[in-house]
């Protein structure tokens, strides 16, 4: 279990983190969302030890994380960094060696990763000759080469085409499935909703919501009741709580706190019921609500 406990960080007068806490279990994929400047990158940099927190602690398996622990982590920073003039395979191998792999192991895992990420043909090319998407894959290879025990990825999906997004998502799921806690930040909320076991929403340096997607939905209440009735006379919903909108011969009722059985009976009497159900809030809605 990777625990982030009450991190605080100031830059001069500006408070960047104001007591951020959350935990990620082994094998869990944690989506970290928040507006620009909310504190995602600062948190991730503190987890990686690139930045020091003013107070608070990062623990892994119950012990405070040390520099040696972090050497076994995989990290993709927000601003991508690679040696532009270095060759792809050489570069991935170099980072493997820096993380403590033997020359042979570094060569072997590099070959495997380049194979899996579809970069085999580009192994001898300088990084600067690659497309942005391929550079991103090399960046991922650099983060994965030493078979990390924890993965911290800052905006790994930004700038990728849909196919590359799928490939990267698969790679991350694989890692999580092997028991590695994976934390990544993203602005693509549908993606986070689809991939992540749990989600943390940060706003102005504080965690405003955290938990599994289902838990977050539950926290939002049961959601609005939505009824669509065709061919009903105007005014059929007189006296019922909620709002009516008219769309051609369809009338839509959205109700937050009406009794659903009463509403259903009235709707059936009034016309042809096309839809009746609670609206599950999307992550986007949860997010808007949480940071508002």
């Amino acid at each position: 279990m990777l625990e982030i406990d009450n991190l605080r960080k100031r830059y001069g007068d500006k408070v960047a983190l104001d007591g951020v806490s959350f935990a990620v279990r082994p094998g869990e994929m944690f989506g970290f969302v928040g507006a620009n400047g909310a504190g995602k990158t600062t948190t991730m940099r503190i987890i990686m030890g690139v930045l020091e927190a003013d107070s608070g602690e990062v623990r892994h398996e119950g012990r405070p994380v040390t520099y040696e622990d972090r050497r076994a982590y995989g990290y993709m920073p927000e601003e991508r960094g690679l040696y532009q003039k270095m060759k792809v395979a050489e570069q991935v191998e170099y980072f493997g060696r820096l993380h403590g792999l033997t020359p042979a192991a570094a060569r072997r895992t590099t070959a495997e990763l380049l194979e899996r990420l579809g970069l085999v043909e580009r192994r001898g090319d300088a990084v600067e000759a690659l497309s942005l998407g391929n550079q991103q894959r090399v960046q991922l290879a650099v983060a994965l080469v030493h078979d990390p025990g924890v993965l911290i990825l800052d905006e790994p999906f930004s700038g990728l085409d849909p196919l590359a997004v799928d490939a990267l998502a698969e790679a991350l799921k694989d890692r999580a499935a092997s028991g590695v806690p994976v934390i990544f930040s993203s602005h693509q909320l549908e993606l986070v909703e689809r991939l992540c076991d749990s989600v943390g929403i940060i706003s102005a340096g504080r965690m405003v919501a955290c938990g599994s997607v289902a838990e977050l939905r539950a926290g939002e209440g049961r959601g609005l009741l939505k009824v669509v009735v065709r061919g009903a006379a105007p005014g059929w919903a007189e006296g019922l709580p909620g709002e009516i909108t008219v769309d051609g011969d369809r009338q839509v009722l959205l109700s937050a706190d009406g009794d659903d059985q009463t509403i259903l009976r009235r709707a059936v009497q009034a016309g042809h019921v096309e839809h009746f159900g609670r609206q599950e809030p999307t992550l986007v809605e949860i997010f808007r609500e949480a940071v508002a």
Partner: protein, 361 residues
């Protein structure tokens, strides 16, 4: 230590393969090699060709005799410039206009010696004893010192620039963020300095090897002063000390900025200090035994250039060398500690230029 060595290896491997490195090394080698032949080309003749008609005199040092059938042939050879002068029957010297002073003296004294010998007298030549410093090699040593001075300056500034550029490359591209999750800042900084230092030493080694090789090939080596090994060792050791000092400064200043364009501005204090060191080493080359040279050769970082130049230009008491080295090593340690601190604190702060005051507390 392993991390440091990996970083150093990468620096060496990537830089040594670049065209820039190979081309500049080749050009320096050619220039230094050519330098060793210059005295041969412009330094005037070692031997004079002199025509002879009639009996040739006994062998004379620095003169090569060429026999001609008669005076007319010899006269023509002088006018055509085939020979410098012609000796007719051991009595007359033909020259084109005035005879070369030195050749005149040589011929006259050879002639005198021969006649004295004939008269049955022996003369003991004068013995020359120096009562000042060993002045025999003064000229060569001054030349060596000049050469060494330029070489050290360019190598130092070139290597230090590369360190600074490497630091900014890693900081600007943010690759340093990934690097620092697997190596310590001192390993990254140390590896870069060691790696590029090895390349600097390769440069220096090639220059010295080519220079000495060419000196032997051109015959210049016979003019080299005794104790060349000491001069070479001193140049290498002082290069290492000077490089450690200036490259650490370069790395520390370089870590304050995120873009190569800002580098020149931020490095100004360092380049000024280097230029000053270069300028004061002129003193040592021109007047190696003067008081200013002696004092400056003790003060770091000036000593890093003044001392090797002084060592090349004149004999330096061992005590002064040891003192200068001890002071320089102390200065290197201070700069390394302070530089590593600045680097560590500044290298992750991308964006606007970091103020030096903010990172030294």
């Amino acid at each position: 230590m392993n991390g440091l060595w990996l970083v150093a290896q990468r620096e060496i491997r990537t830089r040594i393969r670049t065209k820039g490195f190979i081309v500049s090394l080749a050009i320096t080698a050619v220039l230094v090699g050519a330098f060793a032949f210059i005295p041969k080309l412009f330094g005037g003749n070692d031997t004079y060709d002199v025509g002879v008609v009639g009996t040739a005199p006994a062998a004379v040092e620095q003169v090569k005799f060429v026999t001609y059938a008669d005076e007319a042939a010899a006269r023509k050879a002088v006018i055509d410039g085939d020979v410098e002068a012609a000796l007719i029957d051991d009595q007359t010297v033909l020259a084109d206009g005035e005879i070369n002073d030195r050749l005149g003296l040589i011929l006259q004294s050879a002639h005198r010696d021969a006649q004295i010998k004939q008269a049955g007298l022996t003369i003991t030549p004068l013995r020359v004893v120096s009562v000042g410093a060993d002045a025999a090699y003064e000229g060569v040593r001054a030349g060596l010192a000049m050469l060494l001075m330029m070489m050290l300056f360019f190598l130092l500034i070139y290597s230090a620039m590369f360190v600074a550029m490497g630091v900014v490359e890693e900081k600007g591209s943010r690759i340093v963020e990934i690097l620092l999750t697997s190596v310590r800042p001192w390993q990254l900084l140390g590896g870069k300095i060691v790696g590029l230092g090895v390349l600097g030493l390769i440069n220096l080694g090639v220059v010295i090897a080519v220079g000495l090789g060419a000196a032997f090939a051109s015959g210049l080596a016979t003019d080299l002063p005794p104790g060349m090994a000491g001069i070479v060792i001193s140049a290498v050791v002082w290069f290492i000390l000077g490089y450690a000092f200036f490259s650490t400064l370069a790395a520390a200043f370089g870590s304050l900025v995120s873009r190569q364009e800002e580098l020149n501005g931020v490095l100004t204090p360092m380049t000024m200090l280097m230029t000053l060191t270069y300028l004061v080493s002129y003193l040592a080359a021109a007047e190696p035994t003067g008081t200013p040279a002696r004092i400056l050769s003790l003060i770091p970082p000036f000593s890093s250039m003044v001392m090797p130049v002084r060592t090349a230009a004149a004999e330096v008491p061992l005590g002064e060398i040891v003192l200068a080295a001890a002071l320089m090593i102390a200065a290197v340690v201070v700069v390394l500690l302070a530089g590593a601190r600045v680097y560590e604190r500044a290298v992750l702060r991308t964006g606007a230029r970091v103020k030096l005051g903010e990172v030294i507390r």
